[in-house]
Symmetry: C2
Amino acid sequence: MKKILFISGDNCDDSEIQYPLFRLFEEGYTVSIAAKEKKPISAKHYLKVDVDLTIDEICASDYDALLLPGGMAPEKLRQIPKVLEIVNVFFNENKPIASICHGQQILISAKILNGKKATCYPGIRDDLINAGANYVNEQVVVDGNLVTSRRPEDLPYFMREFVKLLG
Amino acid sequence: MKKILFISGDNCDDSEIQYPLFRLFEEGYTVSIAAKEKKPISAKHYLKVDVDLTIDEICASDYDALLLPGGMAPEKLRQIPKVLEIVNVFFNENKPIASICHGQQILISAKILNGKKATCYPGIRDDLINAGANYVNEQVVVDGNLVTSRRPEDLPYFMREFVKLLG
């Protein structure tokens, strides 16, 4: 039974947290959602999403893969050193990392994108390029164990590739 | 390439139209969304969903399966005779029908539930029973080619069974 970690927070995009969560449930995986505080996340539009643990409580080795939803949460999360450490643990252990939309702001700050082929929300495209990524404008981009997409409309393609990678 | 028909309208539940739509895209199926008018559906909370055809334009034999999202749209749709005719065509041709939450109000009015094992949103449970259904309180209920669920939180289980049925 694979265990997947999500890191998110208030004002995340509703679809970008719910679709992956439900999709992984459908596959029978276990998902744990971490946020700064252990209280339900209020997504940008209306959803409330239960939080399983705080970021401080995360032990990266407990999980097989990491998923970063977008929205306005990543701009706060990228300022938390523990979040960046966790991303680096997954990256260095070659565990799958999936990131969509503004989730890639966390990957930029974690300094793991240099030389990586990736995509992101158009508004942060130049930041992705400045972080050394090989930016491409596609629904989903897979480079090794890194899966990236641009926006909510890409979720079907994003999750198709992430589920394939999880095996 | 299987073709799936959705019938919905304004104030449908956001997740109950988006999750099935994206999930079927992920499988490579074609989805056509029908509504009373050919203008984007405004879901209950925030989503806008493109409409492909009007209910008047539906030719049931063009599709392999039918899906009815919930929310507040079904209470209007059940009053449209053509909607009930279409449901009966799918039912009589033994094509898969998936319905969630308040979508089952349409099935009640289409008079196809007598003797069928099914579930629905708790608020319309008594109506389902009065329509002759064998009501059960489960995440997802499959009776032949009929798949029913209770609410948005059931979507992973609803779509797991529906995708399985589509083959």
